[in-house]
Amino acid sequence: MIIYGVALLSICTLTGMFIGDMLGKMLGLTSNVGGVGIAMILLIWGGSYLTKRGLLSPKTGQGIEFWNAIYIPIVVAMAAQQNVVGALSGGPAAILAGLAAVSLGFALVPVLDRLGGRSEPLPPKESPKSESQDLNTASLSVSAQR
């Protein structure tokens, strides 16, 4: 049932956010400490555990994959509500501070990447005919590669 997948995703989300909030409180912060990250780890481990035991039917998976596929439109909606005017009105100091941080970040990616063992680049993407299908085959081919 599709709802099982949605419910699994919801439970992981709520648990992760709850742990993140508790961690924040323990550290004396007002922000949530890595709630999204913790929830993702729960879903990754929970999902692969259930898949290995054959407890996760394709229908259940679809309940999660729908949200996976709707993710880019949600990011677009998020972009449409950024305070772009406010950002630009901060003047050259704000713009340069932001740009400097981004440039330094970009420059450090290859430096840190070289420190550890090489990681295989993902295989080239197929032409995106159908978005959801593309995502499915992508995640399948990733796990098959390893």
Binding site: A97, L108, S119, R146
Partner: protein, 255 residues
Amino acid sequence: MVIESLTKVVNGYGLVSGFAIIGATMWLSYWMSAKFTKGRLHGSAIAILIGLVLSYVGGVYTGGQKGLVDVPLLSGIGILGGAMLRDFAIIATGFGVDPKELRRAGISGVLALLIGVFASFAAGAGVAYAFGYTDAVSLTTIGAGAATYIVGPVTGAAIGATSEVIALSIAAGLIKAIVVMVATPFVAPMIGLNSPRSAVIFGGLMGTSSGVAGGLAATDERLVPYGCLTAAFYTALGCLLGPSLMFFLFRGLFG
């Protein structure tokens, strides 16, 4: 009468209207990507760019702080792109990720987070210094803003920065998020951002959740879960180090 009914339906079914509007934007973006760039500039990158431009237009038109969402008929986009559904969908991208891949990237991720926070503070404070700020409080706050637009005000409020400096730090963080969204697909081939491990490092170095989410989506959506996973810890780490370690460091350096 027609207008009245239309307004009532669009406002009453805000989220549904959001799906329709964003769906149309996506279709237009993918069409433009195929037609004018032969797919070289990814459709989602164009869509994010359109979103940002519309957000600017909306901000100028309404004078509000939430871009397009302040336009009454378009408030449904706010529900679709709000924190709840955004986090829900980001977490969903973790489905299908190989736990082995994650464990292999673990230490690089932690290292990237620490270096990323320090680098952002240094970059932001450096620019602030060049613009004539010499006190430790302002330098730390603007440096914190260069981390993310949440770390900036949290740090500034904790160490007693002026509201002008706090506003500047928020603006720096917003610029960072926007630049990461727009520039990542272009820079990605140059910095080898093409593997799960490099995405984990990228997320840790940049930290801005919205920037990393948008930037990676426009580069290769399969990298999204890896980058967002580390980015999720960045703001908290920044809020933790900003008013403490970073402030002491800057106070030691600048008195």
